[in-house]
Symmetry: C2
Subunit: 340 residues, 2 copies
């Protein structure tokens, strides 16, 4: 059976995923019986197209990278907006990787809802819909008998949501702590080596990890959104991201970092989720941790998530130096989970 794929958003992550898919198509067919064709692509600035046959993914990615429109690709019909594309596409799985809207997760959340309602499985790497609308989207997916998966929203393709779901059955998540934002960790660990905040931020931007406007990372919002997603999914919380007050790293000075070093410590932006009586409390703030502790050992763009459980005690997942390929892999991994 051939799976029909649709893409909403075709940025770096989706294009890296498209290349991974094409690169590995023989392995996927041989080892997993997975065959695919692409039937729809929606982009913000390169047009949106539908096909009743198949869209050449590599050609589409190439056009976008040359600054060309997708409209005009052989055998494709142009569509004017993403909602009509979702309404009309013939797809088994929709990959939603449109840009994050930190205010309410829209329009991505509505795209996802509509696709699920049409009984299309949805895989997203977009934190917004998971942080703001997890329960609703999960419910719609269940009612329609399709999957809603989002491994790539926290720690890229490192197993987090899928690991708890499939490898920690019957265990209850009691809490978590983690370093979940790469930009702030690059800055904090760079400052330990004597570089300035601005210098480190610039390096993170040049490496393609931080956005041109990195406030969202620096002020702790990216980590907070991930913490909400973790709490709502893994701990069955109902936290509204609008109620969170993260503390970012703007107030951390070189003096603070030197003072911590004298005590054998380092400063890390730590996201926490804890069950306190019957409530689940989220916090994001810079903390001093021991340099030779697991959290302290996480340097540069690496991430770490500790999960405390009742039956299995405490385990952690560490992701070393992730890049766009690791986020692309999250889509691949979710895709095979949906398919199996």
């Amino acid at each position: 059976m051939e799976m029909k794929l649709a893409f909403v958003g075709m940025g770096n992550v989706a294009r890296a995923f498209a290349r991974m898919l094409c690169e590995r198509q023989d392995d996927l067919a041989r080892d997993h019986g997975f065959r695919f064709r692409t039937t729809a692509i929606s982009t913000n600035s390169h047009g949106s197209i539908l096909s009743t046959d198949r869209i050449d993914l590599i050609e589409a990615a190439g056009r976008m990278e040359r600054g060309e429109s997708l409209v005009g690709l052989a055998g494709c019909e142009a569509v004017t907006d993403t909602f009509s594309l979702i309404e009309r596409c013939d797809a088994d799985i929709l990959f939603e990787t449109s840009p994050l809207n930190p205010v309410d997760g829209e329009p991505a959340a509505s795209y996802i809802r509509r696709a699920l309602e049409r009984r299309i499985n949805v895989i997203t790497a977009n934190k917004g819909p998971v942080a703001f609308r997890y329960r609703e989207l999960k419910r719609v997916a269940r009612e329609r008998g399709v999957s809603f998966r989002f491994e790539g929203t926290v720690m890229d393709g490192a197993p987090v949501f899928n690991m708890v779901e499939t490898c920690l059955p019957a265990a209850r998540v009691l809490g978590f702590e983690g370093i979940l934002n790469s930009t702030t960790n690059i800055i904090l660990t760079g400052m330990e080596e004597g570089r300035s905040f601005e210098e480190c931020l610039l390096a993170a931007q040049r490496a393609g990890i931080a956005e041109a406007n990195a406030d969202y990372d620096i002020d702790g919002w990216d980590a907070a959104m991930k913490a909400v997603a973790l709490a709502n999914v893994l701990m069955d919380a109902e936290i509204d991201p609008r109620g969170i007050e993260p503390k970012g790293i703007r107030a951390v000075s070189s003096d603070d970092i030197r003072a911590a070093a004298q005590r054998g410590g380092v400063i890390r932006l730590v996201a926490r989720g804890d069950r306190v009586s019957d409530e689940i409390i989220i916090s994001v703030a810079p903390e001093e941790v021991m340099k030779d502790s697991p959290l302290g050992s996480v340097r540069g763009s690496s991430n770490l998530l500790k999960i405390k459980t009742d039956l299995m005690g405490e385990i952690a997942v560490l992701e070393t130096d992730p890049g766009v390929r690791q986020t692309a892999y999250a889509l691949l991994s979710d895709m095979l989970t949906v398919f199996n």
Copy 2:
């Protein structure tokens, strides 16, 4: 549907598992639809019993802890040896936790083989059969349409084998490195704090982590057996444990540890598996690593395994301060995987 459970070996791990099962039976029924009854228990020194109805697991564990025989438990028939028990039991899942035989994995490997041949799913926490006979046992399980699972053989219930299988689909494991033996790590990290080798070993023995004869841990054999299991399962290697020459920690002196500390380093017993051309090479040896690296941050009985992959880069799993409950959880986790 009620699953019929059989136990070969009823030591600390199996008894902790039995208690976990009974403690959680309502949750397991409600959340997973899992119901069970025990139909067979085989032990080395407390007799072996079969039942056509159900064996009271808690009563059986209690008898063993009071030094009493299982023979005579209400509604049970005594059996003289484990092979006849496996031959005659009416079971869906057999839990094999008999003591490790480091020379050839016997008789556990033959117990497992016979159970699989009888189309009984097998779950083991015993490294021997996995290190020595993985391919054969996997093949028999596949031929008979049952499962052979062994999450508890490396890092207790922390997701290792199950994680790679279910959460890293299509990714190829290129290599691994890890701290896989708790006894040696307790000794090495204790010596960093100025205690002697003997003092630390005694503490590990008192905590129930090291055996009375801890040579197998200290000389690197436990870590080597785990490394072979990892290589054979995750990297499709065909390594015979008899060909491995681990280096243990016997030659590590307090002077070595002080010298490493002066360079910001610590000594850890590191197990490695690497693909070198078309061959897979296993090594186990003490290594100096940076104190503030992920490997260096692993202290006491904690374990860490880094896995290098093609599609997902490098990730690691850390297990903090495991105890017998964590190994018991491995059996529970494998049981629900088999059941689903």
